[in-house]
């Protein structure tokens, strides 16, 4: 089922988990062919693809996440499937010192403004919550 946001139950399950350590949020992304900015967005009417709009979101997200210790582990576009099969266009992994830092990023005063790029560029996604064992060659 194509999804765009957490359900209320999914958000609560994440928020209320007692695990207090590092979390990496693995985003499997499907972009719109053409970005769909809304009337009122500065980019409305601009001729750009969904991937370009989403990358704007990701870059702005990385900036506000950095304020609470979040980092972007990977932002990558999909070339092809080497094993298995699927239809994702991109993969984004963001790592936070704890789950509260992720929620703080979503509640950042700038988030509402930058999320227009996500709305414009993203068709659907999965978001897996993971607990890294190692990151950038080091044990967590």
């Amino acid at each position: 089922m194509p999804a765009f946001q957490p359900t209320a139950a999914q958000f609560r399950a994440f928020r209320d988990d007692e695990h207090g350590g590092t979390v990496s949020q693995v985003n499997l992304l499907k972009f719109r062919v053409k970005a769909e900015y809304k009337r009122g967005d500065p980019e409305y009417g601009e001729d750009c693809d969904g991937q370009t709009a989403y990358i704007r979101y990701s870059e702005a997200f990385t900036e506000i996440a950095a304020e609470v210790g979040g980092t972007t582990t990977l932002l990558a576009t999909v070339e092809r499937y080497f094993i298995g099969g699927g239809d994702w266009d991109g993969v984004l992994v963001n790592t936070f010192p704890n789950r509260a830092a992720f929620i703080a990023t979503l509640n950042h005063e700038k988030y509402k403004s930058i999320s227009r790029h996500r709305d414009a560029g993203l068709l659907a996604q999965d978001l897996l919550v993971t607990r890294p064992l190692w990151l950038n060659g080091n044990a967590v």
Partner: protein, 135 residues
């Protein structure tokens, strides 16, 4: 689709790409409940889970990757889906300085020596070839 290995078409498609370019391989992993080691493996009958067997593979791959100039970027058990749904147990990312380095890895002796842990632990996986913009 439940897969363990690339199909011949997938290998051909990979071979058509530029062998000199770096790639990040994104592993979405599903483990067996119980590891299935062959009778002649030292771990046979020890009651390891699929996840434990795959972790032994992961430790071995980590060493191989650092030897060949690749980078084990990240490995993590998947805790839950926060958006969407699916059935993956873990995610791992490995960066290769070129497609050529990735392609040659399975022929190495040190890789072949640890590969049986993957067969013992892995139920199926997706392996997504990506071009990293931010790493």
């Amino acid at each position: 689709m439940s897969a363990i290995q690339p199909t011949p078409d997938q290998i051909q498609a990979f071979l058509k790409a530029d062998m000199s370019e770096p790639v990040c391989m994104v592993n979405l992993l599903k483990f067996k409940d119980k590891a299935t080691y062959a009778e002649d493996a030292p771990e046979y009958g020890k009651g390891l889970s699929g996840q434990e067997a795959y972790q032994l593979y992961g430790i071995g791959v980590f060493k191989v990757l650092t030897t060949i100039g690749a980078k084990p970027i990240y490995s993590a058990p998947a805790n839950r889906f926060m958006i969407g749904e699916g059935d993956w147990d873990a995610v791992a990312l490995a960066w290769y300085p070129s497609r050529k380095v990735f392609l040659e890895m399975p022929q190495r002796d040190d890789y072949q020596a640890i590969h049986y842990h993957r067969e013992a632990g892995l139920a199926h996986q997706d392996l997504i070839e990506t071009t990293p913009g931010v790493l």
